[in-house]
Symmetry: C2
Subunit: 304 residues, 2 copies
């Protein structure tokens, strides 16, 4: 079993969807990532919170076996995000962002974290992502996320980071912006030519596409009768993906495909409830059962 | 091998996409359907054209082994559709529709066509679809398509038709309108409760979802480096789907899943070129090769 390190945000979210709302609930990319990954492996977490961050959330993260030695607690308020979704649940509308202590976040990797086997660089400034990479012994696998803000505002720095990264995990809108084409195959060719060895494109309710120089893999999203809150689905996906790879220590193409399905499975749980409510209540048997349902969902016989 | 009958439109399309244009090129739901199906089985076609319909198109359809005894030739002009697509290729913008001889189309099934094993009711007035059903000996499998125009304008007639149908094949926007929900699982439950035994939801570049009372199947669309013209993709899908089922005579769940992949394969060829240009130039080996690529695209190992 490999050591997994995540750098990202821990936040308090206020979210409204057609199915309810959550006020100042636990959120943040590193939170979703680490909680999802914790069902497969231990996780070291790097993030920052303010003095107001509830003790109960820390307790929860610890209860999941997440190492919080790298969770800084700084004077000031915790990062807050406020958003809403219409029935078109694929896209969040941000109502308010208060970066607070996250604004001056400079990840410092504790000594005990400096030899991760796998590293996930959550969606932060690409220069900080690169700085994190320089603080650790080169991991076996580095994955990262980004967003339009950095694609538009710090493209050169982002490409420099991507050149050091094994797997880029982004959503389809971001992929099209970064690859500068509406066609995802062309997008993949451009991105793979300049940087990461593997590209995972998240398409929300439409599933996921994976590209590298040798192959393409596609899977639908798990069809759910009730999607209550899509917040955190992408980070949960990444957590399931990296958590499984860390647990098996196997980075073969077959393992990567299974890891993508585990990521999709974990994301399908997250969106069934607000915040991490569904993710908190899981046991590993449910995860395995849904993986097997995924297999039945996508199975067809090959030609003789 | 079963006998396959299709009722629908034969048209002359004028289409513009970011990748080129076609002026008065061969189109129509029955045309795409029958041509796709012809790679698997013989097809009997019911449609109407005007006096202006080019002889070369008739020759082409005959060359594909399509029986044209049911293709009426009437005084007047052939159905014409004019549309365009932006880079967002999933949705056509209709610029002009001239129904011409199609406006008064009343399908009359020739004696020789009255015992089909499989029947596809293309997107026409649901009352005409029902009328066709009454003219034939009950086939083993009846599938149909529809569109928002009938969902909004003739919903009761449409439900009466759907109650007689085994497979409804529609796109996701239409499914949401008919099932009155943004959630496709809920949509499927509503539609299956009132009518067809099987529901296939086409999602364009995002692939396809299949529902019946017992199971769900999902497949991504085949990732293509170049999509030039999406016109006819849905009818091509239906043609590949029904053509394969007719060819095997097997209506098991496993055969239906394979048929959905064959439908997706055929649609992936159609969109690579304008009109039926790519579909005309196919040989069956290419179809089988792409089916196998689809298997590799979607394969992952189950848990031990």
């Amino acid at each position: 079993m490999g050591k997994l390190l995540v750098v990202g945000s821990v936040a308090l979210d206020t979210v409204r969807t057609p199915f309810g709302e959550g006020t100042e609930v636990l959120g943040g990319s590193a939170t979703y990532f680490a909680t999802a990954a914790s069902y497969f492996t231990g996780v070291d977490l790097i993030a920052v919170v303010g003095e107001d961050f509830p003790e109960a959330h820390l307790k929860f993260l610890k209860s999941r076996g997440i190492d919080l030695a790298g969770l800084e607690r700084r004077p000031g308020q915790t990062f807050r995000w406020k958003g809403e979704y219409t029935h078109q649940l694929n896209e969040a509308h941000t109502l308010d962002t208060k970066l607070n202590v996250f604004e001056t976040f400079r990840p410092k990797i504790p000594e005990s974290y400096r030899s991760p086997d796998l590293l996930f660089l959550g969606n932060i400034d690409p220069e900080l992502q690169l700085d994190v990479l320089q603080q650790v012994k080169r991991p076996k696998l580095v994955a990262c996320d980004t967003m339009n803000f950095w694609i538009n505002g710090k493209r050169d720095a982002l490409w420099r980071t991507l050149a050091q990264v094994d797997v880029l995990v982004i959503n389809d809108g971001e992929a099209r912006a970064l690859g500068d084409s509406p066609n995802l195959v062309q997008v993949a060719q451009k991105i793979l030519a300049k940087g990461p060895k593997h590209l995972i494109i998240k398409r929300g309710e439409y599933g996921v596409l994976f590209f590298n120089h040798k192959q393409t893999f596609g899977a639908p999203a798990f069809p759910l009768e009730q999607v209550r809150d899509p917040t955190g689905a992408g980070d949960t996906f990444a957590g399931g993906f990296m958590g499984y790879l860390a647990a098996t220590g196997n980075l073969s193409e077959e393992a990567i495909r299974q890891a993508i399905i585990f990521g999709s499975v974990m994301a399908s749980f997250t969106v069934e409830a607000f915040s991490l409510d569904r993710l908190r209540a899981l046991d590993y048997k449910e995860i395995e059962a849904r993986f097997r349902e995924f297999k039945r969902l996508t199975h067809f016989n090959d030609l003789p």
